[in-house]
């Protein structure tokens, strides 16, 4: 270590692992898709996971090991986000990792988008991420460590599939949220990164596609010639939230089989 790297908190040893054992993690949108795969992978890697979703039935089937907990909440309401974080702090006394995966997708043509739809999608997809990050930032600042992930989408760059305007706008907001928070929390040793999944085989990813159009869209168009699995996104998140992601912040990691090549 030199004067230029002073403050580094990870080892340079080549055998260094991800250091996730005993880390307190909070994953939203954990009843299905990317949130679910992430909650389970983090639990398997040794984290004490709190899995949150509005869908209590989906949470029931989660495998979080012996130290997991679940919380049913409507995160489109900021007060509920505060409560979820307060609950984790009461139970675990700290918060190391926040993964914001909760989102909804309604495909509606622009001409038919009304204020109610706009509000519902923006509150659920973007305001919830903002409120969760705001609540999580406090303990992470005090700990002088933390990892935050916001799930965005390729839609933030390419506008999304047909009739996804409000979804795409919210996901664009997620990218700006990650970057501005990364700047603000960097001096507290908290990293904030965005993930841009695309072509992931989840109920939301497939929304509005037929079996044929889904296959044609991803199997024929992306360089890897196949759709991705939610576990593949979870594995990329594992890299960022563990000790291996110590020098990555404000980054947008694309997990989309080469769809964008941006």
């Amino acid at each position: 270590m030199s004067e230029l790297t002073a403050g580094v908190t990870v080892s340079a040893d080549p055998g260094t692992g991800f250091g996730l054992a005993g880390k307190v993690a909070l994953v939203t949108g954990a009843a299905s898709g990317i949130g679910r795969a992430t909650a389970e992978l983090l639990a398997k890697s040794g984290c004490l996971v709190t899995a949150v979703d509005i869908n209590h039935k989906g949470l029931a089937g989660l495998d979080l090991g012996d130290n997991g907990s679940t919380d049913v909440a409507d995160l489109s309401v900021p007060a509920a986000c505060e409560q979820v974080v307060a609950g984790v702090l009461a139970r675990r006394k700290r918060l190391d990792i926040l993964v914001n995966a909760a989102a909804i997708l309604r495909r509606v043509p622009i001409a038919e988008v009304d204020a109610a739809l706009w509000e519902k999608m923006m509150d659920t997809n973007l305001l919830s991420q903002f409120a969760m990050c705001r609540a999580a930032a406090r303990p992470m600042r005090e700990q002088n460590s933390g990892r935050i992930i916001v799930i965005s989408s390729t839609a933030a760059f390419n506008g999304g599939a047909d009739s996804s305007s409000v979804y795409a706008i919210g996901k664009g907001g997620s990218l700006a949220l990650a970057k501005s928070l990364a700047r603000q929390l960097a001096s507290h040793n908290v990293t904030v990164n965005a993930i841009c999944p695309g072509g992931i085989d989840t109920p939301m990813g497939r929304h509005g596609f037929t079996e044929d159009s889904w296959n044609a869209h991803y199997a024929r168009s992306v360089p890897l010639k196949r759709a991705g699995q939610p576990e593949e996104v979870a594995k990329a998140i594992l890299f960022l939230v563990g000790d291996w992601g110590s020098y990555v912040t404000g980054h947008t990691l694309d997990v989309e089989g080469g769809l964008m090549l941006r």
């Binding site: 790297t5 990870v10 080549p14 960097a186 594995k235 594992l238 890299f239 020098y247 912040t249 980054h251």
Partner: protein
């Protein structure tokens, strides 16, 4: 091997790492070896690369002394490694040269040297490695570029920055070409990493100025950057291709 690292899926993989005598290349080669891969470490610095290999965990590693400006040597390296090991799974293109000089002083020889070592060698190594990987329908190529390729670099790095931009473009082309064969090709874009090359031609003041502009408030360790490269070479990055992974303490915000 740490059991935690088994999720990387690197055990038994055969890897070539260039620029392995120092800095990011050395660290990446060490991490691959510690994760169970069989590593062929290459560098033009013979003593350096032999010392790197001596320090590796595990057995079955090889040191290669090679000047990447020599195209025939690049091709022969891939063929020799694939023949000896019976396969090739991973190529990490890390080797690069940087001399900080005023743009007026960049002559044709300097231009050629930078282009040949930094960019041309990566192109021909990618091509040869892709051919060696295709039969097994699995491969990982990581090309180390630099934030300089996007923002022009620090002082005296014009030609260097151009080679690094070329690497980003080249990586996307190879990602398209090799993706159908199960081979991912990604760029690693390091920011200010505390290596001998980073310190080249920098004064205490310019180094401090570079450091102060990094959101995390410090330069990175070679190991932190190398972990980004090994991530891209591992099972963890199975659906990531054509991407530019910035490991830069938040410098680019990209």
């Amino acid at each position: 091997m740490s059991p935690e690292l088994s999720i990387l899926g690197l055990e038994g993989r055969v890897a070539i790492v260039t620029g392995a005598a120092s800095g990011i290349g050395k660290s990446a080669a060490e991490i691959l070896a510690a994760s169970g891969a069989r590593v062929t470490a290459c560098d033009v610095n013979a003593d350096g690369v032999k010392a790197t290999v001596k320090g590796f965990a595990g057995t079955g590693h090889t040191a290669e002394v090679i000047d990447l400006a020599d195209l025939a040597a690049c091709d022969a390296l891939v063929k020799r490694t694939a023949k000896r090991e019976g396969r090739l799974d991973i190529l990490l293109n890390v080797a690069a040269v940087l001399r900080r000089i005023d743009v007026e002083q960049v002559d044709e020889a300097e231009w050629d040297r930078l282009m040949n070592v930094n960019l041309r060698s990566q192109y021909f190594l990618c091509r040869a490695a892709g051919e060696a990987m295709k039969p097994r329908k699995w491969g990982r190529i990581v090309n180390v570029s630099s934030g300089a390729g996007l923002v022009g670099g620090f002082v005296g790095a014009t030609a260097y920055a151009i080679t690094k931009a070329g690497i980003m473009t080249m990586t996307k082309s190879f990602a398209k070409d090799l993706g159908p064969h199960g081979i991912t090709v990604n760029t690693l874009s390091p920011g200010a990493i505390d290596t001998p090359m980073q310190r080249t031609g920098m004064t205490k003041e310019t180094l401090e100025s570079a450091r102060s502009r990094i959101p995390l408030g410090r330069m990175g360790l070679p190991a932190e950057c190398a972990r980004g490269a090994v991530f891209l070479a591992s099972d963890l990055a199975s659906y990531v291709t054509g991407h530019i992974l910035a490991v830069d303490g938040g410098f680019l915000m990209r």
